[in-house]
């Protein structure tokens, strides 16, 4: 259990590639913080830096108040779960789980005790004698998790641990991880490219792009008050509608772009005060709702519509924003504008 601080961290690779720049972040003891962003945004690099697998070009890293910038992984008391699980193929499951404990010099009795405890917690006691090659994806993932748990480390790092699982299993493991975090009360740093995972698991989310932090906030704030268009676009499916103000009938608005979430866009069958006329282009029925894409003056917007009441493609509809306060305003650089 520990707090984590990154202070002005920068990572530059040979050849000048800047993977991470001006990164300052504090994670409280017991928090579950996700790092999200498109590939190449630097999130995995940050994880490597926290683990000690790579050293920063500048800045400091502190774990539990201790400066660990120059410490190799073995001295940091950090455990990591990898995307491909990285199980030791020549050892059986029990051997994999006991490996870090052997290195730490624990006695046989204590090793076996901890291995059993963790195996029970994760439901893998029956697999202890099997080799990784004989396990399914989900089972391997649990063993990888077990190998981290068995060490009782200060900090848990997760590098896209669910990406290699199929969708059903992923959802199940997601809830298990959340429950595990609640039960352990440990500090988790979690890297993913899946925004749903990040939103559902995290206390706070760090959005990264091209090595820089875009915003750090709890999921609700990221969704409700995105700091820029990148963050606004990243969360929400279907994506937020970003259009010039005149499309929404506000030509005098100072913002360069206005953002309205699909659920905030109302479509009416006839003209009404405050609406703009638009033509329906596409209707996608996805089950619990339908997504209707309309077109006006070169811009496309998508609205969520209750099933059964969708307009047809080609129809004329009238659209308006349900609530003024839920409108997002962005300037020419994409930064959030606080509407007065």
């Amino acid at each position: 259990m520990a707090s984590v601080s990154l202070v002005d961290v920068e990572k530059r690779y040979r050849g000048g590639v800047l993977a991470v720049s001006e990164l300052s972040l504090t994670i409280a003891d017991g928090e579950l913080v996700s790092l999200v962003g498109p590939s190449g945004c630097g999130k995995s690099t940050v994880l490597s830096l926290l683990a000690g697998l790579e050293t920063p070009s500048a800045g400091r890293i502190l774990i539990d108040g201790r400066d660990v910038t120059g410490s190799p992984p073995a001295e940091r008391d950090v455990a990591m779960v990898f995307q491909s699980y990285a199980l030791y193929p020549h050892l059986d499951v029990a051997g994999n789980l006991a490996f870090p404990l052997k290195l730490a010099g624990l006695g046989r009795a204590e090793r076996e005790g901890r291995v059993r405890e963790v195996a029970q917690m994760l439901g893998i006691e029956a697999l202890l004698e099997r080799k990784p090659a004989a396990l399914s994806g989900g089972q391997r993932q649990r063993v990888a998790l077990g190998r981290a748990l068995v060490r009782r480390p200060k900090l848990f790092l997760f590098d896209e641990p669910l990406s290699n699982l199929d969708a059903g299993l992923r959802a199940q493991m997601r809830s298990e991880l959340k429950r595990l975090h609640a039960r352990l009360g440990a500090t988790f740093v979690y890297v993913t490219h899946d925004q749903v995972e990040a939103m559902s698991l995290s206390d706070r989310v760090v959005v990264m792009r091209e090595g820089r932090v875009q915003q750090v906030a709890p999921p609700a704030v990221l969704y409700g008050k995105p700091a820029n268009t990148f963050v606004a676009n990243f969360f929400g499916d279907p994506r937020i509608n970003l259009v010039p103000p005149r499309i929404l009938g506000r030509p005098e608005h100072p913002a360069a772009l206005l953002g309205v979430r699909p659920e905030e866009l109302e479509l009416l069958a006839q003209d009404a005060p405050g609406t703009q006329p638009a033509r329906v282009e596409l209707v996608e029925a996805v089950g619990p709702e339908s997504w209707v894409t309309v077109e006006l003056d070169g811009s496309r917007l998508t609205a969520r519509v209750a099933p059964g009441s969708e307009p047809s493609p080609g129809e004329q509809v009238w659209m308006r924003v349900r609530e003024e306060s839920r409108l997002h305003a962005f300037d020419a650089r994409g930064e959030r504008l606080e509407t007065p």
Binding site: S48, A51, G52, L53, P72, P73, A74, V78, A79, M80, F82, Q83, S84, A86, Y88, P89, H90, F99, P100, L103, A104, R147, R151, L157
Partner: protein
Amino acid sequence: MRNLTRLGRVLAVAALLTFLLGPFLWQGLTSLTPEAELGGRGWPSHLTWRAWAGALAREDFLWSLFNSLVVAAATTCLCLLCGAPAAFALARLPVPGRGLLLGGALAVSMFPPIAVVSPLYLVLQQMGLLDTRAGLVLPYATFALPLTLWLLTSFFRQIPSELYRAARVDGCTPFQAFRWVLLPVSGPGLATTALLVFVFAWNEFLFALSFIHSPGRRTVPVAISLFAAEHAEPWAEIAAASVIATLPLLVLTVLFQRRIVAGLTAGAVKA
């Protein structure tokens, strides 16, 4: 039309097999032919093991088999001992001057062995290692090292880097990660490399010829080349000795042909 090309292919395969195996099989046949019928027309009237018995009765030939085995085995061990850690480091650690090392190894692999015979002769003489098996092992290992490094580095690179990273995070120093995780996992690569080094060491001729004089210490290639030194060429016995000298390698090759092919081509393709 299909049958013609199939026939063509069968003929091609037959020709190929004759070309590849024919000479060796002829040697085998010769070794079983009675002395008197050598060079005669047609098949031998009967097969005899006399030549084989004769070859195996020669004490220095038997010693040469033993010597080759010892030298080849020692060379293989030395190569793996030096080469495995180096290859691991080249694959995963920040080695200063790695380009220089690999370039140097490449250069050594291009040396004509004759070029180092004179100084090595003098050095071995100084160290009292001339005419000893130990004196062969070090030069052999040196010239097999580039091949070893080539092959093993590519094998270590193929092992996913996450395995090494996981070992480090679990608390390993680089050496512990090498010893407890990477080395066990690289078993197949080590086996392939060991095979190729063994074959190289067994077949080496120039150094063995130059550095060893005593009949009792000679290796197999030298023994074969000097077989008829004493009296009129015992052709059948020479043939028998040749076949015997080749048998260990043949067995290894047939058993491990897949590995050997993979090793030969992997080393080359990665170069």
